[in-house]
């Protein structure tokens, strides 16, 4: 069993913000604006983005041409000038690469990563890999996370990759046209096993879009981050703030 990646917060950090599942896309400018406004004003000493910042990411070269990705890059770069910004991959933006991270000043995180803050250990994950019931997705995940698949995909022309992403999106919309049953959630046994391995009591993850706090027994727990959609009623734009006082949800809207 390999040890989980560990990040020890510098002593000076008082608060850390965790966000995930913003699903930023050009067609939803209001959520983009809320996110930009948040980054410009948060007093946090560090920001952790735990996956699915972007609705889709087809390669870092997408941000090289003027457009939505380049706009996002600018916002991230400005934020990272003021404080460290950490980025963990989600199931949508798993192709965000070292080039984009370097350009924006992001620090890429392994999934999972143990954050040690004020002597407390927090286990951070996107969460998708713990949804064991979603076997179809996990097979897809294994395929697209393989370096060979990624290099082959990234070798295709950008326009073709954008078209492929669109068609995959349509296919997943089609799947919704079935009386399906699996509503995958994080597997409690798997979460407990991770927490024990990490020597942590609290797992924080996103992915499921089901914000909440779940006791896992033996003093273990998992906290689920909210997704963002400021056009929903009520609007959703929420972060989890970690400090010496523990974890606190902060609604931005």
């Amino acid at each position: 069993m390999t040890a989980f990646a560990e990040l020890v917060a510098p002593a000076g950090w008082r608060t850390v913000d965790l966000i995930s599942d913003l699903h930023l896309q050009a067609s939803e400018p209001a959520t983009f604006d809320a996110w930009q406004g948040y980054l410009q004003t948060t007093p946090a000493d560090a920001i952790f983005i735990l996956g699915d910042l972007f609705e889709v990411w087809v390669g870092d070269d997408a941000a090289a041409e003027p457009g939505f990705e380049a706009q996002c890059a600018e916002v991230l770069r400005a934020a990272a000038q003021h404080r460290p910004v950490f980025f963990m991959h989600g199931n949508r933006d798993f192709l965000v690469g070292a080039a984009f991270a370097a350009r924006c000043g992001l620090q890429l995180l392994d999934d999972p990563t143990v954050l040690v803050l004020h002597d407390r250990r927090w286990l951070l994950s996107h969460g998708d890999v713990l949804c064991l019931e979603d076997t179809e997705y996990l097979q897809f995940r294994a395929q697209v996370r393989a370096p060979s698949w990624q290099s082959a995909f990234l070798a295709r022309p950008l326009a073709e990759r954008r078209a492929l992403a669109r068609s995959m999106r349509t296919q997943s919309e089609d799947r919704k046209r079935s009386p399906g049953m699996v509503w995958a959630d994080v597997d409690a046994d798997a979460a407990r096993a991770w927490l024990r391995q990490a020597g942590a009591t609290t797992l924080v993850h996103g992915h499921t879009h089901r914000p909440g706090k779940h006791a896992l027994g033996d003093g273990l727990e998992r906290i689920v981050l909210s997704d963002w959609d400021v056009t929903a009623h009520p609007a959703r734009a929420q972060l989890l703030c970690l400090s010496s006082a523990g974890a606190q949800r902060v609604d931005l809207r």
Binding site: S178, W183, R210
Partner: protein, 170 residues
């Protein structure tokens, strides 16, 4: 012997009466009646409501906590019954023979859900009965306001609760 009927008492909406086709879908009917008998459906919600398609329920309590369910059953979609408006069928995962407790009521003629071939793509969804009373209740349910919750876009904003499901006395 006449077909069994089950009443779904929907809070604030009324009663839906389902007639189950024991001859054409014996396994699905037996399975559904077993869940009814042990009270599984009492205090569950219609958690997925898509007008022009179907309303799905039987798996979650209010607040979207998932209820444990029993063994997976064989898919009887090849029984000749069609996913027509106001029929009731078993929901399942992408695996053809994976239905347990969740069911759905078609609120349109959904021909694309019918059995076409014994393959993963073609199995279809097993119809095992039809609405014989309370169609207006189904119409009310399909018209409720929905929103995004979890991964889905189609969750009623106000819970549509099955208070109880009971076998109708003959």
């Amino acid at each position: 012997m006449s077909n069994p009927q089950v009443e779904l008492h929907i809070k604030d909406h009324g009663v839906i009466t389902l007639e189950l086709d024991q001859d054409k879908a014996p396994k699905s009917v037996e399975n559904f009646l077993a869940y009814v008998a042990k009270g599984h459906y009492d205090n569950t919600v219609f958690h997925r409501v898509i007008p022009g398609f179907m309303v799905q329920g039987g798996g979650f309590e209010p607040g979207m906590s998932q209820k444990p369910s029993g063994a997976e059953i064989q898919n009887e979609a090849n029984n000749g019954l069609k996913n027509d408006n106001y029929t009731v069928a078993m929901a399942r995962t992408s695996a053809p023979h994976s239905a347990t407790a969740q069911f759905f009521i078609n609120v349109a003629d959904n021909g694309f859900l019918n059995h076409t071939a014994p393959s993963a793509q073609g199995w279809g969804y097993a119809v095992f009965g039809k609405v014989v009373g309370g169609k207006e209740v189904v119409d009310k349910i399909k018209a409720v306001k929905t929103g995004r919750k979890g991964f889905h876009d189609d969750v009623p904003l106000e819970d549509v609760v099955i208070e109880k499901a009971v076998v109708k006395a003959e």
